[in-house]
Amino acid sequence: MTAVEDPTSTASAPEKLVGQARLRKEDARLITGDTTWTDNMTLPGMLHLSVLRSPVAHARITHLDVSGALDSPNVLAVFTGRDFAEEQGSLPCAWPVTPDMVNPGHPSIAVEEVNHVGEAVAIIVGRTKVAAQDAVEKIDVDYEPLPVVLDMEEAVKDGSPLVHDHTSSNTSYHFVFDAGDAGTGGDTEQAFADAEVTVSRRFVQQRLIPAFMEPRSVVVQPSGDNYTMWSATQIPHILRVMAAMVTGIPEHKLRVIAPDVGGGFGGKLQVNPEEILCLLVARRLGKPVKWTETRSESLMTAHHGRDQVQFIDIAADREGNVKGLRVRLLADMGAYLRLITPGVPALGAFMFPGIYKIPAYRFECDGVFTNKVPTDAYRGAGRPEATFAIERIMDELAVELGMDPLELRRKNWINAEEFPFTTVAGLQYDSGDYGKATDQALQLLGYDELRAEQQRRRESNDPVQLGIWFSTFTEMCGLAPSRVLGSLAFGAGGWEQASIRMLPTGKVEVVTGSTPHGQGHETAWSQIVADELGVPFEDVEVLHGDTAISSRGLDTYGSRSLVVGGTAVVKAAEKVVAKARRIAAHLLEASEDDLEFTGGKFSVKGTPGAGVGIQEVALAIFAAHDYPEGIEPTIDAEATFDPVNFSFPHGTHISAMEVDTETGFVKIRKYASVDDVGTIVNPMIVEGQMHGGLAQGISQALYEEAIYDADGNLTTGTFVDYLLPSAADLPHFDTGNTVHPATSNPMGAKGVGEAGCIASTPAVVNAALDAVRHLGVSDIRMPLTPERVWRAIHGGGDGGDRATAGTNAYGGASTETSSGVSTEASSLGGDK
């Protein structure tokens, strides 16, 4: 993508900042270390928490003696679940996807029973973190083991042991979307009965870990009956409401601040047990407290993502016209329901039809409890899973029909002239041109040349085979129209808030309810406001992430910030201009109707020269010596924007993969993507978001998997074992754009945060399969480790598992658990 385009300014119109690759304002503190990460906070008298965590996946606590820890030096207090049993309530789940969904309740600290490894069992309060940490091992606990439930397909069978013995099964809910019943499509069973061709597959979406770089951290400062909480969170506003409801601290007595936050990717879209526990301890002791997790605590106890078993059937005629789609999911909830745990797979229900015109569709999902850490949002949240399944099954259908898979896609996708298009899932797609994006991506990749090379390698029986394949995708983003969320039983709306304060010196404060953690809101919002108000970019300050400053907001997730939060900023700016117009007319002794506003200046039409700038108006109304009768002396304004629809970015991603058939090693040779994210505010930031999304989507395909052993121990509990890609593991990305503006917001912007992550995973897997399909391989389970690829090529099947026996992906492979193995060599420095 070309980062900088020539602005198409005319001589009279001021240069627009929207569309320019402005460098980021927020960088100044981040590149110099002048940062305010939560863990940087120190307060007078602050105490430090450490957490004793369950080493077993499912057990009753039969004995708990904290006296050893209490006797440790510099330990002030130790709390167990019994100490907070009456006041801790349950962590909230905001998305009861069905009326009869079973929510077993989620204590922040275990009282009688632990249900996953890593669950909090005791909290040590120390003068220093060292003191608190040292005392952890001095607590004595006995656990009476209970049967461990790990495999979803086993867990849903009659007679399976239960994760929660007060429930009647391990199924939390059964969610159904049937297009026939909804009136958005035909009868799915009939479509399959009448079909000439059907293809059925079982795909596994492995469990992933968001793995934001900044570990979670919480500081709580009590002051009388007021509490201030700093937290490394994506959602200070939602956290405030929820924490107030859970703890009984009145909402107006609780202020939540998200200072600099080091990434989230959905992983910090949560009300965490430790956030509640910090509040409870601070309230009990009347002292400021801090908790910062270690990386292994993070990987073990912060929520995970994905983890679905997908059964997908597609029906078509011999000519390749798709007739029906049927999806049945098992979605792993983990041991509890956190904030939107049940909603993630349910949200995916609407994306399985992808970009295709499918006449009949039925979706069913069972949310299943297991003795693992809960799942919840991770970049894409339901949509990557859906996109993977539809893009994989389209290829399988093409193979079955003996048809070119791109031809099959062209035959079934929505054509450019058909927008707006209402899909079989009931969504109205706004705009796009799938053909154009695909053509551009083919060109960007150098498709024909690579296909020729593939042919040469096939013919020469090269041990390194080449595969080239696609993902053509769309996603719903910009969460979300509040009424739609209401119809899905979500516990909140989807609006966003902004306010603009015009300061006497002409400087502008923009308050946004959408709290960034790396997305560059301060820069993009400044560009928008500079254009709307005609003030210099430098004169705009964007404030966020503090509920005392930004009183209303619904925070950052679901690619919503620009399309919902940015639109609220535009609306607020329009109100500022409207209010300033009245003052300006008064000052210029002119009629409002005769004023024009351009480049930050009100002037009387046909009277060049005379005029007053909006920044001057700000000073005049601050002085308030001379303004019209009957109005307030302010031009500040606020706006709340509730979108009427989602926006639907789309794109075509093409991956060229080398597969070494002798070693199973796969390597991305080339990657090209063309995305349509509507109107672009800052192309540099958009490209950065694409790169980051691509990295995470590719990493799901090739590298990442949270693995539990047969006892429910997370065996990928450090960055030694959970493979995050380094610079050496990822390719150069060739990215491009087409632009079809969204119709649901005045900027025409579509979301970009999740696009790369949603599209790339199936492109990579499809391309790797294309390299070895002629060897009889039709599926390889993610991640495509060399071991799995080699097995698929040489042993058939989908490569089995490197997974240990506790994962849903377990297929009988013999990899043994590595938990509990400790040798001199594996011991970390400093460990005794």
Partner: protein, 186 residues
């Protein structure tokens, strides 16, 4: 674990060594528990919180600083091992208000998003360019392999390192040195 306390009173091992270390141009003398890691000494004793902790296993590199001019992960160095040494952190590489070329390049090439890995990434990259003044794309990727970033996909980091390398060897783009203020107003 941290070094914020003065654990002399009740610690079992009563021998608490004293270290003298120069950090970002200032000399410090402190008693430190022998097990104290350099990164915890920097953050919790000296308040040098620009350097951050991202993992427990020396995989992520977020804590990278220079120890006598060499990049080290400060979670793998004991504070006592820095006795008599000079440490440079992200807070000490700018020349007054003028940014280091690597800081400037990360800004100009959009080599950061959330910025948590950035201090370590910049410190590792400066060391890399010291060893390889004109690194290829591949050499940059191999050279920063020990530093993890979850936001950027690395492509813009690679570009930033190469731009800074050019400037550091005097083949720069000719753009003026950036200052803190200029970046804040970019």
């Amino acid at each position: 674990m941290t070094a914020a306390a003065h654990p002399c009173n009740e610690a079992e091992d009563t021998h608490v060594p004293q270290i003298n270390v120069r950090v970002d141009g200032t000399s410090y003398t402190d008693d430190v528990e022998p097990r104290t890691l350099l990164v915890h000494y920097l953050r919790e004793t000296l308040g040098k919180v620009g350097t951050v902790v991202g993992c427990d296993t020396s995989n992520c590199g977020a804590c990278t600083v220079h120890l006598d001019g060499e990049a080290v992960k400060s979670c793998t160095v004991l504070a006592v091992q820095a006795d008599g040494s000079a440490v440079t952190t992200i807070e000490g590489i700018a020349d007054g208000k003028t940014l280091h070329p690597m800081q400037k390049a990360f800004h100009e090439m959009h080599g950061l998003q959330c910025g948590f890995c950035t201090p370590g990434m910049i410190m590792a990259s400066i060391d890399l360019v010291g060893d390889i003044p004109e690194p290829s794309d591949h050499e940059v990727r191999e050279g920063i392999e020990g530093n993890l970033c979850r936001c950027t996909g690395y492509q813009n980091i690679v570009k930033a390192v190469q731009q800074a390398a050019a400037e550091m060897r005097g083949a720069g783009t000719g753009s003026a040195p950036a200052t803190h203020e200029a970046v804040a107003q970019a």
